[in-house]
Symmetry: C2
């Protein structure tokens, strides 16, 4: 059998497999709830695709709620309470009971609130920075998305803490009686590696510290179990697997039992017990509302609210099962189509260590991604040499995964001899 | 002449005056660029009316930029640079040259960035909180909008400063060699009193401290002159006189000469010199971009961008002239229609001390405002006894002002004997 013949047979087999997998996919109908085209969109780990119902909802917010009701909408259209109401809608996807999540501000700003508040809770009544407090260390994932590291450094500086960067595997080893708070990512934004949220949370608690989890790269792609695993605080964006739209507001989870001691470094009138009392003295609201600050960004917030409709009837377990099947199948197709050694997956093979993206390392990654995009396969590139492919189970099909691998193989074959080029980078 | 006859003559005269003033109003045509109805909308100092072009622009952002281009829009649709590009569009209304304003985050969050950064600049290289730094006092307007006070207290706590509240008139008296930064409101949100921005700025500079101005209640209603008056830092919302929509992102002005030393307590990847370098070390951008933090809220931001179109061909001087004429005329109508002593204006009569709202005190203000709204005159209420009427020169007419005063007089006459009721409160 010739090589070409063998390759054609492999193509045929994998395409047939993709068809079978798509036919059995219980989430397949969800694809129809998104605005998609013939592009293979594997960048939903950066910006989720547009849910079809968002446009009409936002038009109504603009023309009726803002245009006609104007100021009355803060009460009559429920704008004022939207951050906590939408937080409660999101909560099941995070494994959180109601009353613990607000949607507002950016992830960076929420990391700051959570980390400073965590340090204060860990220290009890000690003032910050305070004279030589017992707990004066913040541990941060050394491989973190950069913003988290910058914000952790700022929180440490302002609370008089020392910042200790450590890769997640080394975190248990650096914890001790001086640890106040630990900031970790549930999944690595580059490699797609999933970290052990229950185990690391338990390690942090064992030394009497608090943990803040950044869920940007997992919420909406797999079950989180915040309540179940005793997570103290968590943050995340809503524009990746949650499809809230570009720069849609982030969320902040404050565990029920910590709420009375959640002492925000960003206290605003929106987190006041009586916001319209307009009092000079700050008295925080009793519940998750104390995680709010300023006036919520209504257009973006209600776009995200509409985007949450696609989760109706979807279980986090079903999403996770499809996510793993998709990434397994993509890796299988890549192995079949791409000559050995041409790319290297830095995403763990073990399911327990894999999020919902596959990261492939190759020497001319920027140029390769540019050509992939030209050929209708949209992933993104992370310096210096990583191709990222995100798999959103609600709208990515097995046929997409097969086609992406095939186009990747063709692209790599065509560009073997060419020089690297700049490619657009995703978020 | 009977009392009724006299009253009818007064009505006729004032309505005729209103007609003449509207006929001569050079901004009159701007009203057609907003979505309005037969309501007299005097709450634009809380939530500006909807500019007619916003809906189509946001629909395009959703369907084309997000829906079709998806991740490519961060570059191709200019999303990534929108905060500084739109900041530059806003800058002329603030009296600022380009390259000093970014639009992002809430006012509260920007107050925090500005105030902590101001303290750091005033202290030079001293660490915060640092051992007994020379400058350890933050002065804050004691009559400020509550959020500013809460954030100032948090900034003081985190930088090891003492917080000194003072009413604006007393501010020069509390300044001294220990003053690091001063947070002031350009106009009082309750009374509508305009404070002396050039004079107070000079007083703060005389002791070597920095001033942060909150422009929420003035930008879009009168000339600000940030560059001209040497203001160090300024913040403000975009949803009042700037009509950006509910919770649209706020702005942050960092004077050119301070930018190299602007050391943000909220350093994010968006303010990095090389955001896609994804470096663990934070290196701030050279310019106003260092005022950014997290991913900008694109839908709300671009709605505001569209809302800025209504300023085409409008000078801040013309807006100010009409604003003063409107509030003068409203006060004149109130004096003519409302029995003496029934309401008391707490807004200064002197033009130099008046913003663009009139605040009337009356004992049953909550109930009165509820009835005004039922009768088509929308202002708002501030506890315990203030009726607020905001005059947005771009869409409020002199006929509106006359009608509002007349309906107020009728309402007060009808409700003389009734008990106070709860009224909706604006933002």
């Amino acid at each position: 059998m010739s090589e070409t013949h063998q390759a054609q047979e492999t193509y045929a087999q994998l395409r047939e497999r993709a068809e079978l997998l798509d036919a059995k996919d219980e989430l397949a109908a969800k694809r129809g709830e998104f605005v998609l085209d013939d592009t293979v969109y594997l960048d939903g780990n950066s910006l989720g695709a547009l849910p079809a119902n968002v446009e009409a909802r936002v038009a109504d917010v603009i023309t009726r709620e803002w245009g006609k009701l104007r100021i009355r909408s803060w009460e009559e259209s429920g704008w004022w309470t939207a951050p906590e109401r939408i937080g409660d809608r999101l909560a099941p996807l995070l494994g959180a009971a109601p009353g613990q999540v607000v949607v507002a501000d950016s992830t960076s700003v929420n990391v700051f609130k959570a980390l400073v508040a965590a340090v204060r809770i860990a220290r009890g009544d000690a003032p910050d920075p305070g004279p030589d407090p017992a707990r004066d260390e913040i541990v941060v994932d050394a491989t973190t998305f950069p913003t988290d590291g910058y914000i952790a450094a700022s929180a440490a500086r302002l609370t008089g803490c020392r910042l200790i960067p450590a890769v997640p595997a080394d975190v248990p080893g650096v914890l001790g009686p001086r640890t106040a708070a630990v900031l970790l990512n549930h999944a690595d934004y580059r490699s797609g590696r999933l970290h052990d949220l229950p185990g690391l949370t338990a390690s942090v608690h064992a030394v009497g510290a608090l943990v803040v989890w950044d869920l940007c790269h997992t919420a909406g792609a797999l079950p989180i179990g915040l309540d179940e695993h005793g997570v103290d605080l968590a943050v995340g964006c809503t524009y990746k697997y949650l499809n809230g739209g570009p720069g849609s507001p982030a969320y902040l989870y404050v565990r029920k039992e910590h709420q009375p001691r959640f002492d925000s470094p960003l206290p605003g009138w929106n987190s006041h017990a009586e916001p319209f009392g307009m009092r000079a003295e700050y008295k925080p609201a009793d519940d998750a509302v104390r995680g709010r600050v300023g006036t919520p960004d209504i257009l973006s917030l209600l776009a995200f609210d509409a985007a949450l409709n696609v989760w109706e009837g979807v279980s986090a377990a079903a999403v996770r099962a499809k996510s793993l099947a998709l990434t397994d199948f993509f890796l299988e197709c890549v192995a079949a189509y791409v000559p050995e050694g041409r790319v290297e997956s830095i995403t763990p093979a073990a399911h327990a260590e894999r999020g919902s993206q596959i990261a492939l390392r190759c020497p001319d990654a920027a140029g390769v991604m540019k050509r992939l995009i030209e050929r209708g396969v949209v992933g993104d590139y992370r310096a210096p040499d990583v191709l990222r492919f995100g798999f959103t189970p609600l709208y990515v099909s097995f046929a997409d995964a097969e086609r992406a691998a095939r186009v990747l193989a063709d692209t790599l074959a065509d560009t073997l001899e060419e020089a690297p080029e700049e490619a657009p980078e995703g978020l």
